[in-house]
């Protein structure tokens, strides 16, 4: 039904008037709907949609997703209910990643820089292929393929391609997980990261890892957390982290240790457990066997002094952990990002031995190796020490060609390694990507890369659910035509397919063939989640479900020892950094931007940080009382200086961070990355100092000390807090809280009583003068 404006106004006027009359007469509002000739558009949904099961590549740790597609366009990304990792649930990152597909600043075509000092100019794919082949022709023995840590088929192709040219495949992760992998290997004897049976645990004790927000597999852990809280006996969460992350906020008991003392805290907890005889002699013996030197210097008072946590709190945590079982302990993130990171994480994971939680229900569950030969189930970045050596080769001119994909190394590496100078000395730098990033400013050839929604691949979740899983990735949209019919948004190609085109063909012709071939191999095993009479039907079934999994293929542990080569943390020096106050710098992942890989997405930019509620900016979290003492107020521009450089951030004081610690989110400070990210905020990764974990050589990214000084300016922090007037349950009670077994009604009564006492006076409340 078509209406012109005059008819529309007449109709709506009559409808509104009629509606008022009908309402006054008490007619049911159903009449209103029937009589209204102007339907609510949402009542008339049209068109058919299709939902495709796939994986998200770089943006999750192997979650399974469903993508809603209408008329060839992707509309929404949700969790795949069939997938065993995230079981239909999502994170804020899912839909943000969708915006990269249709981003207005997507690289539309290949670009070439004819000289190092020149500009990038568009070329066609034939010319790009020719240039690529030229770059490879002299690169045998002098090729490095740089990617983000890649599992699944893409990781396999990148490694084999590098090997074909006698080169290296180096993965880069600005917050590398090598310390975590090393600790899990040395203490539990596992090659893959284990999973944690949070859903069946009575007590969870975690250190440093914001597992509900950013660490590991937040969607997987979130599902388990919901079950953990929903048990008949509600689970109890203890979390140790210097700043209030969303995991700290969810904890029943939050411990805020001095950064770098997380291992001491773990052993202090162990000391209480052993000295009070809270576990069996057998577990005690196994724990002592795993800890060279035993608990020698970790008396409870010493630990309290070292960690800054009171004896009471340590004892409470220890007793809860040992007495309310099953219990599980794990750690990562900032707890492992110190010069003694391996010791910290080793001591934390050894707590599972003490309470008998290894490979048991409600404990730490090992994951099996990959179901596919040569397809990696685990990936971690090369250590910072290895990167320093590699970059020395680049600077010396010993590397002819560097191929980069999924790793914005110019943004992610500290200033101290002088990555820009290193790139300038490589004759051929070839960069893949969907959106121009900081690294591409140093690339000779830029190639537009398909997103995960346009390309084939696979992903093996890490951590997995405790059994073998292969997640599949398939194109869910065709050519991405722009909405104004001006043509293709991007004439992109898949990274894997491009490498295979340039290869000798010995390890595959294209990614689709590799994925389908592997699924066919899985069909031959005759086990797992898909059952079909032919390999073809099996492959279709696996693609429709988003992958294949086999609950009968599980892993196992073999207990080892904690690496105690360096027990005490050391920090960078601030001696010559001018005026200001010294703080331990704790960089943390943004829940939406992560390490910056989603900075181009406006949805990721606008997502409020859960703790500060800030968006679109870089802020610095500082303890509110300390801020008062230092005269720092919200919005003050702070100069944050380390021996590697200086950045600016907006002060955000709050009570949930340890005095002496400053927390700054990663993800901003891009020179490039599209219109919504360019020139926004500061890059905290750039000022990290080149300290390393003693055992692995990994970057100790939480061991930088900074000097903080007010710049003398103040600006408004772009945040949601305060935009809406708070409507508390009672004054001073914004959110209704009950004790265990208490009803909401009783809690409300108690709050009201407290309010009367506080605001009307004790005497009136008690009724003495009535």
């Amino acid at each position: 039904m078509k209406l012109n404006r005059r008819e529309f106004l007449a109709l709506t006027g009559k409808t509104a008037a009629g509606a008022v009359i009908f309402a006054a007469c008490g007619l049911p509002e159903r009449e209103l709907i029937v009589q209204s000739p102007v339907d609510l558009p949402e009542d008339l949904v049209r068109g058919e949609d299709a939902w495709y099961a796939t994986s998200m590549g770089d943006f999750t740790n192997g979650d399974g997703v469903l993508v809603r597609v209408m008329q060839g366009r992707a509309k929404k990304i949700e969790g795949n209910p069939d997938h065993p990792v995230n079981r239909g649930k999502a994170t804020a990152r899912y839909d943000s990643a969708l915006q990269l597909l249709y981003h207005p600043d997507r690289i539309s075509e290949p670009m070439l820089r004819y000289s190092k000092a020149g500009n990038l100019v568009p070329i066609d794919w034939d010319a790009a292929d020719t240039r690529f082949m030229e770059a490879l022709s002299n690169a045998t023995g002098a090729l490095t393929v740089v990617t983000n840590p890649l599992r699944g088929h893409l990781g396999s192709v990148a490694s084999k391609f590098a090997a074909q040219y006698d080169g290296k495949h180096m993965a880069f992760d600005p917050t590398e997980q090598g310390v975590l992998h090393g600790a899990v290997k040395s203490v539990l004897g596992q090659d893959q990261l284990p999973t944690f049976d949070i859903a069946n645990a009575q007590t969870v004790l975690s250190f440093g890892a914001d597992w509900l927000g950013t660490w590991g597999s937040p969607a997987q852990f979130g599902v388990k957390y919901g079950e953990f809280r929903g048990q008949h006996n509600r689970g109890y969460l203890i979390h140790a982290e210097a700043r209030m992350s969303i995991t700290s906020a969810a904890a029943d008991l939050w411990l805020s240790p001095i950064p770098g003392t997380e291992g001491d805290l773990a052993l202090g907890i162990a000391r209480v457990i052993t000295s009070e005889g809270l576990v069996s002699n057998e577990n005690n013996a196994a724990f002592n066997a795993a800890l060279p030197g035993g608990l020698g210097s970790h008396g409870i008072v010493d630990v309290a002094n070292r960690t800054g946590i009171s004896v009471d709190r340590i004892e409470n945590a220890a007793r809860y952990f040992a007495e309310h079982t099953p219990s599980v302990a794990f750690g990562g993130g900032s707890a492992g990002a110190h010069t003694n990171g391996s010791f910290n994480l080793g001591a934390i994971y050894a707590l599972n031995i003490l309470v008998g939680a290894v490979d048991s229900k409600g404990g730490v569950i090992s994951n099996p190796s990959s179901a596919l030969d040569g397809v990696p189930a685990s990936a971690t970045g090369a250590s910072f020490g290895e990167w320093e050596k590699e970059l020395a080769q680049w600077r010396a001119g010993n590397v002819e060609t560097v191929i980069i994909r999924g790793a914005d190394i110019v943004h992610g590496m500290p200033n101290s390694v002088a990555i820009r100078e290193a790139l300038k000395n490589v004759p051929n730098v070839i960069a893949f990507g969907a959106i121009h990033d900081d690294t591409m400013d140093f690339a000779d050839l830029v190639l537009p890369e398909q997103t995960f929604l346009e390309s084939w691949g696979s992903d093996i979740p890490e951590p997995g659910p405790g059994y073998q899983v292969i997640g599949t990735q398939q194109p869910v949209v065709g050519l991405t035509i722009s909405n104004d019919e001006s043509g293709l948004i991007s004439d992109a190609r898949g990274f894997g397919d491009t490498l295979l085109d340039m290869s000798d063909g010995s390890y595959g012709r294209n990614m689709e063939g590799l994925v389908r071939g592997s699924l066919s191999d899985l069909h031959d095993t005759g086990s797992g989640s898909v059952s079909a009479s032919s390999a073809s039907l099996f492959t279709d079934g696996a693609l429709q479900r988003g992958g294949w999994w086999d609950t009968s293929k599980v892993g196992s542990s073999s207990l080892g020892k904690v690496n105690t080569s360096q027990k005490n943390a050391s920090y960078s020096n601030t001696g010559s950094l001018g005026a200001g106050n010294d703080f331990n710098l704790i960089p943390f992942h943004s829940t939406s931007l992560f390490d910056g890989r989603l900075a181009a997405s406006p949805w990721a930019q606008q997502t409020p940080d859960p703790i500060s509620s800030a968006s679109w900016s870089t802020w610095a979290e500082i303890n509110s009382k300390q801020a008062d003492d230092l005269g720092i107020r919200e919005g003050d521009v702070l100069l944050i200086r380390s021996s590697s450089g200086e950045i600016e951030a907006l002060a955000y004081p709050h009570p949930g961070i340890r005095p002496g610690v400053i927390g700054i989110p990663m993800g901003q400070g891009h020179h490039r990355s599209g219109r919504w990210a360019e020139g926004r905020g500061s890059n905290v990764l750039s000022i990290l100092v080149d300290q390393k974990d003693a055992a692995t050589g990994a970057l100790a990214w939480a061991a930088t000390q900074v000097r903080v000084q007010r710049a003398g300016r103040r600006v408004k922090v772009p945040k949601f807090e305060g935009n809406v007037e708070a409507r508390p349950v009672e004054p001073g009670v914004p959110v209704l809280v009950v004790g265990v077994g208490e009803t909401a009604h009783d809690a409300q009564e108690a709050n009201h009583h407290e309010y009367q006492k506080q605001f009307l006076g004790e005497s009136r409340e008690s009724g003495e003068h009535e």
Binding site: R73, L101, P610, K719, E725, R727, V735, V740, A747
Partner: protein
């Protein structure tokens, strides 16, 4: 499987605050599903951002006992909605399925409804919504793009309800419990948000509504919301300490 008769739905939501971790997955899922304009930095700074669901964070206590509490807030779809009687053009009304409905093409933007809403969940479009052309590809065709000058708010993803209801009707069966998921409840990793039919006594929401932790926001206003909250549990809170819990 719990079912309900055709047309006998009273849609509502239960929010288990004890499970909410404040991750904002619901917020972005809602933005994507409902074609909500981009909340640019300028709009955030001017307190003009639009977010049909928001997660509020409150601080309690000081270091080292500081606690951050989260609570998701969206339109409460009140049975006695203060926003409804104040609308001069009947753009907002209560439908037969328990939902507070906003008819965009009737709204003339008086903002009386926003003034009347105690939950502050109604949003005015101060500007025409603008997306770069390529980003318009991901707009949801089931949801109207609201123009400048009108109000908008959470619709309980009414278009999803319609899709599922239409399918159920065409297949000759009733809408099963759990078949309709709003974008926010679908995304929530911890299942803190549960959507369903309060008319069905066997539905999950009906059962959760009986939990002793249930309460409604701003109960004293008598708005009778269709969003029920389950209170946050503090394991260390001393219940019945002193006189507090015993007073009634």
């Amino acid at each position: 499987m719990a079912t309900a008769e055709f047309g006998s739905h009273n849609w509502g939501m239960v929010v288990d605050v004890d499970k909410c971790i404040g991750c904002n997955a619901c917020v972005i899922a809602c933005q994507a599903e409902n074609n909500i304009p981009l909340n640019t930095q300028d709009r955030v700074e001017r307190a003009r951002s639009i977010s049909w669901i928001r997660v509020e964070r409150y601080w309690e206590g000081d270091f080292p006992d500081a606690k951050a509490r989260f609570i998701p807030i969206m339109c409460q779809h009140c049975e006695n909605a203060p926003c409804e009687p104040v609308c001069p053009v009947y753009a907002t009304y209560h439908n037969s399925e328990g939902m507070n409905v906003q008819v965009y093409n009737r709204c003339v933007g008086t903002r009386y409804c926003a003034n009347g809403c105690p939950y502050i969940v109604r949003f005015f479009n101060y500007w025409e919504p603008v997306w770069p052309k390529s980003l318009r590809n991901h707009l949801n065709p089931d949801v109207t793009i609201r123009s400048r000058g009108i109000m908008e708010k959470c619709s309980f993803c009414v278009h999803r309800i319609r899709r599922v209801s239409r399918k159920a009707r065409s297949e000759g069966h009733e809408v099963a419990d759990g078949a309709v998921q709003t974008a926010c409840s679908s995304s929530c990793p911890t299942s803190a948000l549960i959507f369903g039919n309060f008319n069905d006594p066997n539905s999950k929401v009906s059962q959760m509504k009986e939990d002793q932790r249930h309460y409604t926001l701003l109960d004293q206003f008598g708005t009778d919301p269709n969003v029920i909250y389950l209170a946050k549990i503090d394991a260390d809170k001393k219940v019945g300490a002193g006189e507090a819990a015993s007073h009634g």
